[in-house]
Every structure is written in C-alpha cells, then in structure tokens.
C-alpha cells in the first residue's frame, strides 16, 4: 500500500513509469490489455483496407494505400514492442488474438464495400482513433506514450489522405458522390462507437483515469469528434445520417443521436458482419506461415552452432 501510494504520487506528479520500475499488477495487466488490443487493431485493421489495394483506381492511390497499410503494420510492431516491455511476448499476444481471448477494435468488423469506404476509414476511423490517441501521448507508461507520439503523427497524415480521397469522391460523378454518402452512412455510427459506451456504463474507467492510462472520458472524446467531423461533412456536401443532429449554442457543440448500443454489443459478441472472417484471415496467415517461421528459427540455430564450432576450433 505504501508503494502503491508512492506510485500514484509519481503519476500525479506527471512522471513517466518505465518498464523496469515497480508497478502494481493491475496497472501492468490493464496496460497489457490496452496496448495489446491496440496492437491487434492495427494488424486486423490491415484487412479492410487491404481489401481494396488490388482495386485502387490509380497508381498514386495504390501507393498511398500501400504506404498507409505499411504504417499500420509498423504501428502494430511498436505497440507489440511496448507490450513486450511489460513481460508478455508477441507470440503470446498473437495467440490470444487468434483464440479470441483478446479483442481488437470492433470497427474493423465492418466491411469496406466501395472505394469511398477507404476514404471513410481514413477520415472517420483514423479521425476517431486520433481523438482517442492524442491524449495518450501523455499517458503514464513511458514506452506507450512514446509509441503514441510516433503513431499520432502518422495517423493524422492518414486522416488527411482519407479526407482527400472522399472529397474527390464527393466532388465527382453522381455515382462517386453516392458512394461517398453511402460510406458516411455506414461508418458514422460505428465511428461513434469507437469511443466506447457512455461513461455511465463504462467499467474500469475511474481506475484507468487515475493511473493516466486513460485521459479523457468516452463521452468527452465522442463530443469532440462529432464537433470536428460535422463541419467537414458539411464542407463535403454530405449528410450526416442523424436527423437529431443540431447545433447547441449553449454547450458550443453539436447535439447528436447515440449509436445503437445493441449493435455494438452484438458486434463485440462476434456477430458483426466480418468478425469471423477477420479472425479466419489472421489464423490462416499464422498457420500458413508456420513453416516460414520455423525455417528461420532452424536456420538461426544452425548458424549459431556453426559459429560455436568455428570458435571452438579456433581456440
């Protein structure tokens, strides 16, 4: 309890906790879960975008999308490394993802059905992700905070590219415009869900906020996201699919409808449009790649053995 108080004091003083320093077991566990889920989200997040890489309509758009997906895999890598400093291996985390014991962001259980969806993912999904992540640059755990700095920089670049893509669609032919509107219709509420249930419903929140693993409440961030996004949609000439949407002068923000939380829980349970497929794809990649990973390990062992033998011969 004394150590706990000292730990909390350090956090309150804005100090960074580093991997080798003492930390409460709950702090470690919560961080592993949070960072692991975030890493998994980057990995699974490759799939809905990868779905359109082979159909990107220009060389430039193909290059941009490739770069983006590459960045996401890179983010996955930083985050797994950050998690590893807490004493859990990447393979272990992967195994938990594949067996369904660890989650990834539910948004990736929605399909990308048109090219405009690739824009919507950048604009709305990365937009919401950034909203969540920017405060985490000030999170109490050092490696996580540092990973976030790097990630946020790249994500905001992705968001701008996504917005540019959907703007091109919104300003394009009637069909392109229809695709852009349809993408907004389908991704609007799932994006709002990315901030999690309302603060009233949210578990663990208080402790996480005390530990500065979580900085803002879900509702705060959601409001901020809506306030940022509505004018962007208006600029594009697209209609946010919410009849209750209205400017509220008093609060200086938009009033909006809650997403359908039943749908949220259904998707969490595994009943989203793509849950099974996403996990199947990752399982297949992992299983099909076993021989590759084993082959590299076998080679490393051989090389070490040879090196040792050479050393012994030299001695």
């Amino acid at each position: 309890p004394e150590m706990l108080a000292a730990f909390q004091a350090r956090i309150d003083a804005g100090e960074r906790i580093e991997p080798k320093e003492w930390m409460p077991e709950g702090y470690r566990k919560t961080l592993i879960r949070q960072i692991g889920q975030h890493a998994h989200s980057e990995i699974v997040g490759q799939l809905p975008e990868g779905n359109w890489i082979t159909r990107a309509p220009t060389l430039e758009r193909k290059a941009i999308l490739l770069a983006k997906v590459q960045d996401e895999a890179g983010h996955g890598l930083y985050l797994y490394c950050a998690a590893e400093t807490l004493g859990v291996s990447r393979d272990d985390l992967t195994e938990q993802l594949l067996s369904g014991r660890m989650k990834y962001s539910s948004i990736f259980n929605y399909p990308t059905l048109t090219w405009a969806d690739i824009g919507a993912v950048g604009w709305l999904v990365d937009g919401a992700a950034i909203m969540n992540q920017v405060p985490l640059q000030r999170t109490s755990f050092g490696p996580y905070a540092r990973a976030m700095v790097r990630i946020c920089k790249e994500e905001s670049f992705h968001q701008r590219q996504g917005y540019d893509l959907i703007r091109k669609m919104a300003e394009g032919t009637a069909e392109q415009k229809a695709m852009a509107q349809d993408a907004l219709n389908r991704f609007w509420y799932p994006s709002l869900m990315m901030f999690g249930p309302s603060d009233k419903e949210s578990v663990h929140s208080a402790q996480s906020m005390a530990w500065k693993i979580k900085i803002n409440t879900n509702d705060e961030l959601r409001q901020k996201f809506v306030d940022q996004t509505v004018p962007q949609a208006q600029f594009l000439g697209l209609t946010v699919p919410d009849e209750a949407l209205a400017w509220n002068e008093d609060k200086g923000g938009w009033d909006f409808s809650e997403p359908d939380w039943n749908e949220f829980y259904e998707v969490l349970k595994g009943n989203g449009p793509c849950n099974v497929e996403r996990i199947e794809a990752r399982q297949k990649a992992w299983n099909d790649g076993a021989w590759f990973r084993d082959g590299l390990m076998a080679h490393a062992k051989k090389r070490d053995a040879r090196r040792q033998a050479a050393q012994m011969a030299a001695e």
């Binding site: 082979t54 309509p57 430039e60 895999a73 069909e175 790649g289 084993d294 590299l296």
Partner: protein
C-alpha cells in the same frame, strides 16, 4: 514505338509484380514480412509511375501512366510471365522475387548508363531501392533454403516450379536489340552473367539445387500472357473500367 515498348516492358514488370505482392497485404507469415512486402510493392508501384509515365510521354498520344496501367487489356502488357505467376505459398512469392531481383538490380545498374538521360535518372533512383530488395530476398532464400527440412523442400519446389519462367528476362527479341543498339536499354542477354553469379552463389549458400536445363517460357514481353493475367487485371482495372468518366 520501340522505346515505348521497351519502357512498358520495364514498367509492366514493376506494375504486375507490385500488384502481386500487394495481394499479400495483411496475410504474410509474420509482421515484419507484411511491412517488407508493402514496402517493396510501394517501391515497385513508384517505379511504375516513372516508367509508364515516360512511356506515355514517349508515345505522345495523350495517355498517362494511369491510362496505361488501367485501360490496356492483357495483350497490350509487356511484362514477363514470371511476374504474373500467382503468389503460391510464401516460398514461391519469395523465390519469384529473388529470381526477378537478381536480374532487376543489374539491369537498373546498366540502365543508369542509358543514352536517354530520363531513363538513366529513373534507373538510378530505382536501383537504390532494388539494391535493398535483392539483399533482402537473397538473405531469406538462404535462410529458408538452409533452414528446416520443410522450408528447404518448399524453397526447392518453388525454385523448380519457377525456373522455366526465369529465362525470358534474359532473351532479347528484335525490339530489345534495336534499343540496345541505340544505347537506350541494354541487351537483356548482357545481364545473364551477373544474374548467374548471384543465383549460383545464393543457391549454393541456400543448399538449393539449381535446376538443369534452360527451357524458358516466353511470350509475355510480346503480349502473349498466361491465363493468370486476365484474372489479375479484372480486379485491378475494375474501377477505371466500371466508371470510365470518374476521376479519383
């Protein structure tokens, strides 16, 4: 038109191989490979923009790189058959990459000496990227060839399967010879010694057996492709074909 043909041979190779690699996106056996593959695909698509951009400029009929990439049907593509081979398992993807890189790197090096400054410039930039590709693919071929029993068997099978598709890139046709004579693009046959050296060296380290025989499937460079090409182009060109009036 010779130069146009020669440039599309370069640019179609990078386009189609880049496309094939990009099919792996999110499905590679390990995260580092996902990153490396995206990175290579990105390099190759970038090189495509240059080669096909120059080809379109040389052609002078108002087309651009995108028009060449997304509005030609199969028989107007001039890539070699090797790069349109389906990905197969990761071993085949890797072996295809290695066999191509071992040609691509010295070819680009030689292209740096082109009499056409635009070609030399593109080649210099591309060569820096591809030098890294061959380093990486050679390293992996060695590690997997001299790895586990299964990885060795898979790499040998990939090599045997792809070998008959490796010769095409080093066989000159009349167009190639005229381009070489004009000092624009080197005779592909002149790349053979460098390719042989790399391949022999790497296969030996990888404990893989170089297949015998020199039989080479041909036709891609002249627009006679495999059945795979049409299936590759259908998704790739979908949006441009379905919405011909749109800008993206």
């Amino acid at each position: 038109m010779d130069l146009f043909t020669g440039l599309t041979r370069l640019g179609d190779n990078t386009l189609i191989l880049g496309h094939r690699i990009s099919e792996w996106c999110g499905h590679a056996p390990v995260l580092e490979e996902d990153i490396a593959l995206s990175n290579m695909a990105l390099d190759l698509i970038g090189q495509t923009q240059f080669w096909l951009g120059l080809a379109a400029e040389v052609e002078g009929r108002g087309r651009d790189a995108d028009a060449l990439a997304f509005r030609r049907d199969a028989w107007h593509f001039h890539n070699i058959l090797l790069v349109e081979r389906p990905n197969g398992d990761f071993g085949q993807t890797l072996m295809r990459q290695f066999l191509f890189d071992a040609w691509h790197a010295p070819m680009l090096k030689a292209l740096e000496g082109s009499a056409d400054a635009r070609i030399a410039e593109i080649a210099a930039k591309a060569h820096r990227e591809v030098a890294y590709h061959i380093e990486r693919s050679a390293d992996l071929v060695i590690r997997l060839g001299d790895g586990s029993e299964e990885s060795h068997a898979r790499m040998q099978a990939a090599l045997d399967r792809l070998w008959p598709y490796s010769g095409e890139m080093m066989i000159a046709d009349a167009v190639d010879l005229r381009l070489a004579h004009a000092g624009l693009i080197p005779d592909p046959a002149s790349i053979r010694p460098a390719w042989d050296e790399t391949v022999n060296h790497v296969l030996e380290e990888a404990t893989l057996k170089r297949p015998e025989g020199n039989f080479a499937h041909q036709g891609g460079k002249q627009g006679r492709h495999s059945e795979h090409m049409g299936h590759l182009l259908a998704p790739m060109q979908w949006l441009q074909r379905a919405y011909p009036d749109a800008e993206w």
